[in-house]
Symmetry: D2
Subunit: 357 residues, 4 copies
């Protein structure tokens, strides 16, 4: 697992949900990853091809069987283990796997926060492994790339936070916006709710429907605010409203931000606009998965679904003095499994885009 | 056309779009309206049943033919004429019809503003009949019911404005929120774009897609701000972001509002909450088409599509001190044709809900 | 409950599924039905408005509470009881209700067949009340209207059978098609699967998906074949393939039929075409809910969803000698609850279309 | 362009429709294809990234500009030219390109038939280049692989024909089904209609709708019947009914076939079933893009969309004596652009799956 090694042996724990399925897809076709184990209690004994017919074309999918999750076995087989498990459960696996020398990329919320108290406030149970919080790295490669390279435990960000943090962090760090009054209004496809047999997510309950939920204190606020506070050097409180819309995949976020300076004249607007452009360009000119839209283009989830890209566009409104920033991503790719593989690439010294284009 | 008359003769000009089609449906089944004329250049000569097969069960739909629009003929046939035409065109019909003694309910933007200058700023052409602006009544029955009863010219509100004004006006009038910093984030079904053969609204361009548009200065801002300013007694500037989502019908609006008072303690929150409840109850307890949600319920477009109802729910966020108000409506009914018929009921002295339940 | 009575007291047992919800909607607004009881174990104690917010505008919805189902109470309250229950369960309620003098309109499959053996073959359990099969009437008003008027127990047809039988029965009775080789290929919206928390019917599993199921022996074949055999005077065996498509509502059926006569010349085609037209016109000219399409029009579910109408069109193919007949209906209305109310209208001597236009 | 060459220079004429866009995607990421030109009158001068933002991550997409189509220039630049043009237009380009030594893979219908008369019967105009029909090869790699390898002009099959021919041809060649009475009932996503600004394909006209069209003589019948006739050694006439369903992509075809032998006993059914299994296994065991489903699995478009795979399952119905075969494919991939690239791989001596997994 250093830059010179040609490939890496990987395993996925909890591979039967939507994020797990996408990890399987990405890792099967990744030119330098060898998928050696996939676990799922409910699918144990079946091949990947049986559980996910769409992958049946791949030889590994036809031979590799789901197994019951067992950390000792996993630690022998794999160098990197992806955890695609519910929060609270992921920690159980992370502890022994890390002890055995595996690197762990966790897609749950368990290691995203530095504070066990905040975790308890938002997730309503004690943190299962507070001793690991200090060593975990928040897996947003465009922001914490260097730390991810050396991390033993990566906490891959939530889907909403990714769509909010990438557009906001550079502006906050550059002092172009105020750390107060941030509003994030987000729209998510139904896959974000997971593959769970609940009435609320039936086709007929979601189709021809749009609805807010989790107002006003969604769990993802905890990691959004922690990351923004780190960047601002001060405590940031955010207003966040998620909505469910009838698409399979995609998150569209509209951010309402307050520029640090008053926009009194058209010249003020032009000056700030140039600074925002420069700020984003500097932050993301080398980021292969951030697409800064130009001209009249605005983000559209259909332009990012199926890719690991986040699209960002912004407008200054001289009437209100506010900055509107909009982003679009695939909630299962850049918002989950794609980003986790991006972290794996960094850990392994592979090109950041390996297996993700 | 007084309270004692049993029924009213009505006509629809421009009945081939989505709003026009819905007007046809509502007026065909309205127990006290007699649909005597429908016009459409492209459908002239065909019966309603031929153009809209779904109405073929109704005898009038099988006999009444679309005609070329002619104001002299319309004025002889109908007491009330609905205009479902593009802005700029509606005025051409309104002038002679009003002169002939018809009452006119216009669904376009032509008569919604009091200022011809603001009209020109937002619609990019001179107002076609500025002399009529003084007499037109903004057709929001829950707010301007008395004026609508006596109006000769009703300007039926836009779909977005309805979803924004009904939740906001009572709070503003009661002084519970500040007139500054209002943000409206709205999601609309594709029927809002009309029945126009444009690539952007093809199934494959809208399905599995969500996108903002018209940022930051959508035309509907003009009427939103005028109505809010009237209520606030001061000039109100609004931040408004519309988004297109893949449903046929429905608008979901999320409003970010600043309470007039600082929320320092839980008691402050409780007190303000009680005042908001009371304010809405007073404003809408007699309003048959406003549904104030209680308990944990949040608006969902699927609960209002096909009805003339707007759902409203709100949450105070003690973390941010902000008030979040959410509304849902059917953009073609409460946001257009249903509301226009509601105005007709008021004009004719019919029960407000006649033909709309 | 005779033609002179002004209204009828009705109850719905099992009102929490999609068909039950639609029955509630239809009966709340039916001008001559008084909804006196709705039962649902899971919703007992809640008002209709609480369970189905979209009906909250109706006063009865705000006052009438769901109760636990109890046949003695129901029999005291209602003259007609609708059963919207799973097959096998409906019979438990039908027996005591009929004994108490209620009329029963059952939407399940329990009383659609005359033979308890065929029932067992297709439903895999013994018939729960074989003694009632002789008195039940198959509730297809366009075909069995006279029997329905006097029925004490109506077995309302399945959604697929309705879409297949209405286009086929007149042709078979007239001898215009052969009773052999009938193929019905049907596409159904997801509401046909009911409001059940199953992975297969989640939004993400149905959206952007189309799939056949129940091939080649779907349960609805039993009633389709029984009704066709009655009409043909001979045993009819049908090929039937249902498919699930991503719409909330609607069934589109394409039928492949063999004309009784060989089509050797264009004149043969013209002659048979005229006979088919005449046959359908005779069968359905007085049927308010059958729309025979003319000219180039073909059925489209969007033209019937929300109505009790079935659309029918046909084409003779001179290349193959076959007759293609296509139908479209709303699976929850004409395919379930609308048709059940249509039967109620016949039983009560109301106009057939009462409350259904 | 022989097995030893490492890569091939390719161009796409008419790259702005859905098939053209998908060709761009496939060829951009194809490891052995170099995309050297894309043409489109309406997009000339813009880069691929500007026209299709989703490809902007790829460097070629940011540099390669659409040009006006010019065959002389194309012939200098490219070894293989893909034509993604309307029928009737493709021939204009094919003639000079072939003369200049290019190989041409045409996605239109222009070269799929051997008979200019049949072409005229189905496409309603004279064939634009009848002299080329003899040399064109029908580009179904699983069937005509050998001929495709040496072809100068490949006529890539239609989307419906691919979904019908792959399941039917092996059975017909093996004599397991009769060449008479074949029925194909197909359901297609809306992308099949192309990126055309027509009312019929607007979101609101397709969403919550399903409808047949082109009954009973769709143009694709001509190539279906020609290919089946070749396999049967006799003239085959097919009944084909296409339907439009609200998905972006995917075709599901259900075939009703008559086994050659009467199925009198369960043993007959078992014997024929074994022969069908063996027939399909022999035909497609080496075909990387045909997935023969086993056990209870039935085709589902969501398992093939985004891939070049066609799924096939079948059922013998002992009640009717009929064989039901079902297939699913992505209409834009296996039904168009994916299959065209598969042909390119054969022509170039690349592995058949290169760039398609």
């Amino acid at each position: 697992m250093n830059a010179s090694s040609n490939s890496v042996r990987v395993a996925i724990v909890g591979a039967s949900g939507y994020s797990g399925e996408e990890l399987v897809r990405l890792l099967l076709r990744h030119p330098r990853a060898e998928l050696v184990a996939v676990t799922s209690r409910q699918s144990a004994g079946q091949t990947i091809a049986q559980v996910f017919p769409r992958f049946a074309t791949h030889p590994t999918a036809r031979s590799l069987k789901f197994s019951d999750p067992d950390t000792a076995t996993l630690a022998r087989q794999a160098e990197i283990v992806f955890l695609a498990l519910p929060h609270g459960v992921a920690a159980e696996f992370a502890i022994p796997l890390l002890r055995s020398g595996c690197r762990v990329i966790d897609l749950s919320a368990d290691f995203r926060l530095k504070s066990a108290e905040v975790y308890k406030e938002f997730y309503a149970h004690d943190h299962p492994a507070p001793e690991l919080l200090a060593q975990s790295v928040y897996g947003l490669p465009e922001v914490h790339g260097e730390a991810i390279r050396g991390a033993r435990l990566v906490a891959s960000p939530g889907c909403y936070p990714t769509s909010i943090l990438l557009p906001t962090l550079p502006l906050l760090r550059a002092g172009l916006i105020r750390p107060t009054g941030i509003i994030a209004d987000s729209l998510s496809g139904v896959s974000g709710a997971g593959r769970k047999a609940e009435i609320d997510y039936l086709f007929c309950e979601c189709n021809e429907s749009v609805r807010p939920y989790g107002v006003p204190k969604h769990r993802h606020l905890s990691e959004i605010e922690e990351q923004l506070s780190l960047a601002a050097g001060a405590s940031v409180v955010v207003q966040f409203t998620p909505h469910l819309i009838p698409v399979n995949r995609g998150i569209l976020t509209t951010l309402y931000l307050a520029p640090s300076r008053h926009l009194a004249t058209p010249a003020d607007v032009a000056t700030l606009g140039a600074e925002i452009s420069a700020c984003y360009a500097q932050a993301y000119s080398g980021a292969p998965f951030v697409r800064l839209l130009e001209g009249k283009a605005l983000p559209d989830t259909k332009n990012v679904v199926g890719t690991n890209v986040v699209e960002i566009a912004w407008r200054l409104d001289p009437r209100t003095g506010r900055l509107i920033v909009m982003s679009a991503e695939d909630n299962i790719l850049k918002g989950a499994s794609g980003q986790a593989v991006q972290s794996m690439n960094l850990i392994c010294g592979f090109p950041e885009t390996e297996g993700l284009l």
